[in-house]
């Protein structure tokens, strides 16, 4: 069984953010990048299924040269090979153009199941997996909290609102969009890291995938970011400053006298 996993490389959530000169995105030059959180869970799910049932895990990413690090990490964790859509024509995409490109890359392999995260921690469209499922014409499920592989089907638990879960069977092939927290992602072993160095990373061009450059990346996107900014600070907190002891004393005083909640 071939299992596809889509992973995105995103800025580490701990990173200090500075705006880029043109104000359209952050200055990425000094930002550490990591694998998107829900994608780590998607990857763990895929690797553990392959371990239990036998199979090959192929990781896919769209991203610049630096995204190869995320692929190497996935290979070190146990994925077998990787596909990196790194051509400049893939850059600047949205959920629609990235979903189209990923679907074309996945369609070249005979995958039985695709795992994605539910939401990217940078642009957070929460849509790329469902769009790619639409292009493949496979059933999908978003916000998946449990997966059990059957014969030709997959039992999926999807999070609903109000503390409820929907449990249903999807016919395979299908696209499973994993929510963070579904499993316990493993750590890479030294042996895994060594082995990853020899695993192949394929870098197909748009034409290798039969894709028209005008349909992918920024050219094929329906949305673009015009500007980003730090959010207006709402009602705005009163910031307390000083040593831990000083701010603690100040806070207790304010909670007693101003807010009257103590």
């Amino acid at each position: 069984m071939k299992i596809a996993v889509c992973i995105k490389q995103v800025p580490d959530s701990e990173a200090r953010l500075r705006l880029a000169g043109d104000g359209r995105w952050i200055d990425e030059s000094e930002v550490p990048f990591v694998i998107n959180e829900s994608d780590e869970f998607a990857l763990e799910e895929a690797i553990s299924i392959a371990e239990a049932k036998g199979g090959e895990v192929i990781v896919f990413t769209i991203g610049p040269a630096r995204a190869a690090e995320a692929l190497r990490k996935a290979l070190a964790l146990g994925a077998h090979r990787a596909v990196h859509l790194s051509d400049a024509a893939f850059e600047g995409g949205d959920a629609m153009s990235n979903g189209r490109a990923l679907a074309a890359a996945i369609a070249r392999e005979e995958c039985e199941i695709v795992f994605t995260g539910s939401q990217s921690d940078d642009v957070g469209y929460g849509a790329t997996g469902s769009v790619l499922a639409g292009f493949l014409d496979w059933p999908h499920s978003w916000l998946v909290m449990g997966v059990e592989m059957g014969e030709g089907t997959c039992k999926v638990t999807r999070e609903m609102e109000g503390g409820l879960n929907e449990v249903s069977n999807l016919a395979l092939p299908a696209v499973i969009e994993v929510q963070a927290g579904i499993n316990h992602p493993r750590y890479a072993s030294l042996k895994g890291i060594m082995k990853a160095k020899r695993k192949p990373i394929d870098t197909p061009s748009p034409s290798d995938l039969g894709l028209d450059p005008s349909a992918i990346g920024h050219a094929g996107a329906g949305v673009e970011i015009v500007s980003v900014d730090f959010p207006a600070s709402g009602k705005g907190a009163e910031m307390l400053e000083g040593s831990p002891e000083e701010v603690a004393a100040l806070l207790v005083d304010k909670l007693q006298k101003e807010a009257r909640v103590l």
Partner: protein, 327 residues
């Protein structure tokens, strides 16, 4: 003029409208003032004619389209996409609005792909600049707000966060009800059942004081700093989702869109960044105190008092100060 129209797709379950429905119609009405088009609503399900009549009887809009068919129960993305695709392709509205709910997020991006439109999810409002709509949406965990424009062809599919538009501003009036033919809609999931996600043993909704732990606490072994503060305050302990996912606390402590909704008089958030999914669960709190080492953390924008610092130094100091104040 259909190319300017707004379609608002309403969610219902067991014959009850989703709580955000009036906000969405309001959003549609306000957007229509900008585009100059008409507002249409859609209700999908089985035996939902009464819901459609209710909306058409009290809201200023053009038409309420009802897709009423057994294939639409239980909900599946295949049937919903199938039911809406043809209607949207022929009506070709400018915008199609949805609640940013777990159900619409499950199918509307696929509907956009099938119809040939764009996806703008999780919006927190819009601005008009030189006649064009710019959508506001949080990015990077809410640390930044982006303004987004659409540049594709086809309708723009938008999901809107709750409490962005106020149903108090809903323009009253009436509209007509029209039935929408459901051809070729097929279920693409075999529902086994709907289950309770977990045992809810702890009810935080009535808690007067909550100390909430975030990923910044750093591990299950570091939880005593939070426990000690909660103990001197007589507070309940809550948490953000990663704390639960990592197993540092049980699931019934989670606060947010997939956890509990709380409204204590005092909410102390330690090591929580303030992502929208967390904020929706605690924004009804009276006094909010945030402790975070990142001065730009979005939690400060909903706080009354903020402390920038290492929670492992600040929280024990607060615990000691409260102990002292209480004598």
């Amino acid at each position: 003029m259909s190319g300017q129209d707004i379609w608002v797709v309403l969610q219902q379950r067991d014959g009850a409208l989703h709580r955000q429905s009036d906000e969405l119609i309001t959003a549609g009405q306000q957007l229509a003032q900008q585009t100059g088009g008409a507002v249409h609503a859609v209700v999908l399900g089985t035996d939902v004619g009464g819901l459609a009549a209710d909306i058409a009887g009290r809201c200023a809009l053009d038409t309420v389209h009802v897709a009423d068919d057994p294939v639409l129960t239980p909900y599946t993305p295949g049937a919903y996409v199938g039911a809406l695709k043809g209607a949207l392709q022929s009506a070709a509205p400018a915008y199609v609005l949805f609640a940013h709910s777990y159900q619409s997020m499950d199918y509307f991006p696929r509907l956009a792909q099938q119809v040939g439109g764009s996806v703008v999810s999780g919006v927190a409002g819009f601005e008009v600049e030189a006649g064009a709509i710019l959508w506001l949406r949080p990015v990077l965990g809410g640390k930044l707000q982006a303004k987004v424009r659409t540049k594709g062809s086809g309708p723009v599919f938008v999901s809107i966060q709750s409490a962005v538009f106020s149903s108090d501003e809903l323009a009253p009036g009436t509209g007509t009800v029209s039935s929408l033919a459901v051809d070729g809609a097929q279920q693409d999931r075999d529902l086994i059942g709907i289950e309770q996600a977990g045992e809810e043993e702890v009810d935080l909704s009535k808690a007067a004081v909550i100390v909430a732990a975030g990923r910044g606490v750093g591990g299950a072994d570091k939880m005593p700093v939070i426990e000690e503060l909660a103990s001197v305050l007589g507070a309940d302990i809550g948490a953000s989702r990663p704390v639960i996912d990592n197993g540092w606390l049980p699931r019934d402590r989670q606060i947010g869109s997939s956890g509990q909704t709380v409204a204590p008089k005092l909410y102390l958030a330690a090591g929580i960044s303030g992502a929208i999914q967390h904020l929706v669960g605690m924004k009804g709190s009276g006094c909010v105190v945030a402790i975070n080492k990142d001065a730009n953390a979005p939690i400060f924008s909903v706080s009354d008092y903020g402390i920038v610092g290492d929670l492992h130094e600040v929280v024990p100091a607060i615990t000691a100060a409260i102990r002292e104040a209480k004598g």
